[in-house]
Symmetry: none
Subunit: 215 residues, 4 copies
DNA sequence: CATGAATGAGAATTCATTCAT
DNA sequence: AATGAATGAATTCTCATTCAT
């Protein structure tokens, strides 16, 4: 039976997914363990068999989300060697990711905020932080590629720009999710259209001639 | 006595300021009415004389913060007729504002998210929303100015770009606040330097020649 | 209104007395805060207005009991200058005390057992301990009197004997309370008669001629 | 296979010993079945194969402890025909016993408290009670011996005195265990020295001339 | 027999809110 | 208006016990 550990995994995922759904709708504090038990269709006590505390559930979710996000970024980069195509792919992945885990960006921002002190005490938080750094580096690498490939201005500092892009992209995605209605009403745009506009505008900031030439 | 209402105002401000301080430190959910009463030096029951509920305090704070933010944006615009100077001024105001009300950006993002339905039921939230729209328009106006003054690309859509800038700027400011340490460690930059870098990078996206010429 | 503090006192006493009753019947662990609230006819939340925790209630009870016990011992000593009469009076007081607070001796033994470390952290426990020491000294004083008055063997060490008597007396009282039925059945003695027998036997151990001469 | 029952015995002992260790350290209520399972290195469910409930484990321990105590007392008596030597031997046995099962004295005192009604419903408790009676009788026998041998006052009532001695001895041993530190600090005595002092003082109470002549 | 897994029934504690004065 | 006091309704977490395998 290889299933012993797999079964544990299965239950942890069942629970954390249910929790994730509720956290997304109502927020962490307003979601109770009773709610999670009901949503996951386990007894409340069973939750504590798989997770030591409510916080641990959150950490587990964030860690998973972070790992998945990294997969997406890597997948985006793997699409091509061309920096512009990589950028587009990453943007696409981020959007698809934000559809799957709509509130993850908010949560990630809060979690990674944890100072080094509290991270030291919490190995999960620390792992999240480490992966976050790696993600920044990955985006930085794309920028570097783009400079070498002659797309981006030569004086573009890869790492800070990578980090900045990461922040702006995730910030925009986060907010667009909340303002779909507003965007449609005021700008007559679908949220996907608006995001595409955002991605193009942002990349223009470092393009050599300031203009994105689509193939 | 015209002071009747003024006195009410005074107490409301006393309480909401105390609450704001605590919300910023510990978050909304982790702040109790007891905490607020202690911080404001009122009895807990008195809080309920001036606010119907804890949520009402939050709404009041957000509304005030939104209004103040608008003041800041207007002040930034009033600085000059030159769009670039206005942009810079607004960025500066946003940063100074985020120092004074660090927690506001987060809260605003969440609050304004409220859909039209819940806004209808809550006049305060609706007012917040209205002012938020006005703020977007204000930024849009600056963009329009910049186009007319020949700084920005002619095909820049003023309103969406204004909105996008607003989202990106506030997103960056929010996250930088949480990652000061990381930025210093990994990029060797002060947070203010990084923010300046961010503002310059962003504006390059719509500058005609993609380059910001400082005077 | 001098009653402000007095009222607080009143409620604390109401609650702690109710708790005491339940602790005595069912033990500390098996008594819940709900039980106490019901018994005292307060809401459970109100209990926490007057006591920080369940433990605090226990501490309060023990402290009070200890103080009252000291009163009794002092009263017993005050009865006369004659050591034998003092001894008898103290024994009587202890018995009457054990009727009023039947389970106190058990609890005291446990509480005072606390090592100096945990006492340091708990001022109430420490106070209990201090008073306990004073009680030992008081009994020691009686022994000393008795030696001087020629009742007791001259080589009787006052302090250790005082302490020993205290332990044996309280031990016997504790156990007799639990074994009334057994004593009646097996020895055909009322518990009071048995206790009297115990007190006489014990004092014989240090009487000069080993015999208690009643007046 | 005669071992069927022996094996059951073995497991029951494994479990009850583990439980005993934990009860002694942390008390009955603060020891969980999980703790016991871990300490005994059985699965928690297996505990229920051998004991119907947590209470049953306690009862089993108390019964065993009571039986062992009886062994000790009998051993003490067997040492000699001389009542004084028997007394000393019993005292020594009690002390050694209290070192091995420090928590037992407390528990015994509480358990035996059970009234005849609840004993009827619980055969184990009843057995404990029966053995307790026998123990009292055994001590009573020693007293009787001592009277016949001319050591003790002729009017000493054997049974009540036996019982009294049992209570006082166990009471002292119990409390000394908790107050070692205090005794060392205040009286400059080792706990064993103090106990020896206690035993000598107590026996003096019934010695014909009130003085213990050591050989 | 042995046990991993699941859980019902609490347990202590908290807190926003009400109300009589 | 201001508040001390009181509390209902949760909330997180625990644990003895059961049961299918």
């Amino acid at each position: 039976m290889a299933s012993k550990e797999a079964l544990q995994q299965f239950h942890k995922d069942m629970i954390s997914c249910a929790a994730d759904r509720l956290f997304q709708c109502n927020g962490f504090d307003k979601t109770t363990m009773d709610d999670i038990a009901r949503e996951a269709d386990y007894s409340k006590a069973t939750l504590y068999v798989y997770f030591k505390s409510k916080d641990q559930i959150m950490h587990y979710i964030v860690l998973n989300a972070t790992k998945m996000l990294q997969q997406k970024i890597k997948a985006g980069i793997a699409v091509s060697d061309d920096a512009l195509k990589q950028y587009k792919a990453i943007c696409g992945e981020l959007v698809s990711y934000s559809k799957e885990h709509p509130y993850y960006f908010d949560r990630l921002a809060q979690t990674v905020a944890a100072d080094s002190e509290s991270r030291q005490q919490n190995p999960v938080m620390d792992e999240v932080y480490q992966i976050g750094e790696q993600n920044n580096d990955l985006v930085g690498t794309v920028i570097k590629n783009g400079i070498e490939q002659g797309y981006f201005k030569e004086d573009t500092p890869a790492l800070p720009t990578g980090f900045l892009f990461w922040m702006m992209l995730s910030g925009v995605i986060r907010m667009v999710k909340n303002k779909e209605e507003y965007i449609r009403l005021r700008m007559g745009m679908d949220d996907e259209v608006f995001l595409d506009f955002a991605f193009r505008t942002l990349i223009s900031a470092i393009l050599k001639d300031g203009i994105l030439h689509e193939e």
